[in-house]
C-alpha cells in the first residue's frame, strides 16, 4: 500500500499552496478559496492519520467530517460578509479595505 508519508506530504504541499494563496492574493474570494485549500490539506491529514494510525476509533475521520462542514459554513458566511462589503463599497480586494489601520 501507499505509505502514510505520501499523504502527509501531499497535504503539506496543498497547505503550502493555500498559504501562498492567502498571502499573495488580493481578492477576498480568492483568499477564501485558498483557505479552503488549506482546510482540504488538513482534512487529508486527519483522514490519513485516522485510517493508518488510529483505525479503531477513527477520530480523524469524524474530525474531517466536521472540518468539512465547518469549512462549508465558513464559506457561506465569509461570502455574505464579502458581499456586504462589496455592496457598501464596491470593492472586493482586501488591500483596498484598509479604513482602519495603525
Amino acid at each position: 500500500m501507499i505509505p502514510i508519508d505520501n499523504f502527509l506530504v501531499l497535504s503539506a504541499i496543498l497547505f503550502s499552496l493555500g498559504m501562498y494563496g492567502v498571502l499573495a492574493r488580493r481578492n477576498a474570494v480568492l483568499i477564501l478559496m485558498s483557505v479552503e485549500l488549506m482546510l482540504q490539506a488538513v482534512v487529508i491529514n486527519f483522514v490519513a492519520f485516522a485510517v493508518y494510525l488510529n483505525p479503531e476509533t477513527f477520530t480523524g475521520i469524524i474530525f474531517a467530517i466536521f472540518v468539512i462542514v465547518i469549512a462549508a459554513a465558513e464559506v457561506g458566511l465569509a461570502l455574505a460578509i464579502i458581499l456586504r462589503l462589496f455592496r457598501n463599497r464596491q470593492i472586493s480586494n482586501v488591500d483596498e479595505a484598509d479604513l482602519m489601520k495603525w
Partner: protein, 639 residues
Amino acid sequence: MGMDQAWLIPAIPAAAFAILLIFGPYLPRKGDWLAIAAIGASFVLVFPMLADLLDQADGTTYVAGEKAWEWLSFELAGVGETFEIEIGFYVDPITIVMLAVVTLVALMVQVYSIAYMKGDLRYGWYFTAMSLFAASMLTLVLANNLLLLYAGWEAVGFCSFLLIGFWWEKRSAAEAAKKAFITTRIGDVGLLIGIIMLWHEGPNTFNIQEIIHFAEEGGYGNTYLTAAVLFLFMGALGKSGQFPLHVWLPDAMEGPTPVSALIHAATMVVAGVYLVARMLPLFEVADPIALDIVLIVGLTTVMISATMGLAATDIKRVIAYSTLNSLGLMFVALGSSAVAAAMLYLFVHGFFKALLFLGAGSVIHATEEQDMDRLGGLAAKMPITAATFAIGTLAMIGIVPLSGFWAKDEVLVFAEEEQNIIVYLVLLSSLVITGLYMMRLFVRTFLFAPRVQETYAHAHEGGLLITVPLLVLGLLATVGGFVVFDEVGEALGFPGGFAQFVFLHGAHEFKFHLDTAITSTALAGGGAVAGWVLWQDKAALAAHIRDAFAPVSALLANRYYIDEIYQFAIDRIVLVLGGIIAWVDRVVVNDTGVNGSANLGYFAGFEIKFLQTGRIPNYALAIVAGILVLSIVMLVTQV
C-alpha cells in the same frame, strides 16, 4: 544661689524673649522694661555665681561647677554604649569673665537703646531680639558641651542676622545680614565637622572637659586632633571675623549702632576667641602647626584690618576695623598660648569697644550722619560723648594707663617671648597704624571746624539714657586694665589675683616688661600723634600722602578687593555652577534622561504601529511568520 543655678542666667532673658515674642505688642512700652529687667537680673546673678566660685576656691585653685540634664539619649545597638546629649552648664573663671562682660555690656547697651531706638517702627521687636541674643550668648558661654555651645553659637549668629537686618527695608541692610549669616555659616561647617570629629574618636561624649581630658591623655591621634581643632578654628574664624572670613563684619554696621556695640564688638564676635580659649588645651596637645595657624590668621587680620581702617570714612566702619584689629590681636595671643592675655584683652575690649560704638551711636543719633568727612568739631557740642570717646580711642590705641594698654602689652610680651621676632615686629608696626587711624577717627569727628555746618548745627548731647552708659563704660575702660596687677585682683577678692583666676592651668602670671611697654607706648603714641598731625584741620597733609600713594590708598579704600574677589567667586563660580547644575538637571537629567526614555517608548510605539497596515495579506503574513518562527525555533531547539 550658687553655680547650680547658673541655668537661670540664660533662662531669664529666654523667658523674656518668649513673653515679648507673644505678648510684646500688648505690653506697655512694648515691653522694653521687661528685656532690661531680665538682662539686669542676669547681670546680678553673675555675682552669686562668682561668690560661689570664690567660696569653693582652694587657695589659688578654683573648682569649676558643672551641672547637666539629659536632653536625649539612646542605647547604641550592639555596642553597649549610650549616645547622650546633655543640656549642661559649666562655670569656671573664664565663664564668669565672659558672663560679666556680656551681661554688663548688654545691660548698658539696652538702657542706651531705650533712647537710641525710640520711635522706631519695630521698637518692641528690637528688645525681643536683644533678649534672644542675650539668652543665646549666655548659653554659648555657659555650655558644658560642644553641642549646646554650637546651639548657642548658631543662635547668636541668627540674632546677629536679625539685628543687622533690623532695618530690612534698606536693601543694604538686608544684604549685609545675609552676608553675615552666610559667611559665619561657612565657618560653622568647620565647627560642626570639628565637633563631630572630636566626638567620633573621642570618649563618646560632647562634654568639653571630658574631651579635653581625653585629649590630654593622648586619646586622639595627633594628625586627627590637629585636623579636628583646625576645623573648630574655622568656626572661630567665621564668627570672630578673622581673615579670610572677615568680610561680613564691616558690612554688619548696617544694623543699629547699639547692636554693633553689643554684638559686633563686645560679645558675639569674641565668641570665637572664647571658643579657642576654651579649647586651647586641645590646640596645645595637637601638632604645633595648629597654633601657628591661629597665630598667622590673627596676625594677618591685624595687619589688613588696621590698614583698611586707614582708608574708611564711615565712623562705624572704622570702629569695626578696629574690632577686627583687636580680635586679631586676641588670636595672636591665643596662638602664643597666652590665654590669660587673650581673655584680659577680651575683657577690657568689651568695655572700650562698646564705649566707642555707643559714642559713635551718640554722634549718629545727634547728627544722623556717620561719614567722618561730613562731621567735625562735635566736641564742642557733645562734650561727654567726646570725652568718653577719647577714652575709648586712647584705650584702643593702648596709651597708659587706660585698660587697652595693659592688655595689649600682655599680648606683646607673650609675642616677644614665645614667637619669633617677625611676629613681634609686625605687631609693633600695627600699633602705629592703629594709632593713626584711631586718632584720625577722633580728630575728624570731634575736633577742628565742622565740615558740614548744617549737621553740626543741630548736634546735641543725648539724654541721660545715652550719657550714663557712656560714662559707666568710660569708667570701666579706664580702670578695667588694672586687674593685671595681682594686688588689684586680690583686693577685689580673687585669691592669687586676676591672672590666676582666669588661667586655670597653673601659674601664669601677668608680666610687665618695661622695655616692651615703653616701645609699644612710644609706637602707639607716635602713631596717634602722627594721626593728629596728618588729619588736623583740613587734613591737607593726609590728602597729599593719599594722592602720592594713590594705588595703595585705592587698594585700602577697596578693602584689598577681597569683597570683590568673593563677589566674583559667588557670581562667577558658585552661581554659575549652580546654574550649570540646574541646567544639567533640566536638560540632561530631565529632558534627555527622563523624557528621553519616555520618548523612546513613545517612538517605539510610533514605529511599531505602522506594522499594522490594515491589510489582510500583511496580517496573514504576520501570522505565518509567527508560526514559522515558533515552529522552526521549537524544532531546532527541542529536537
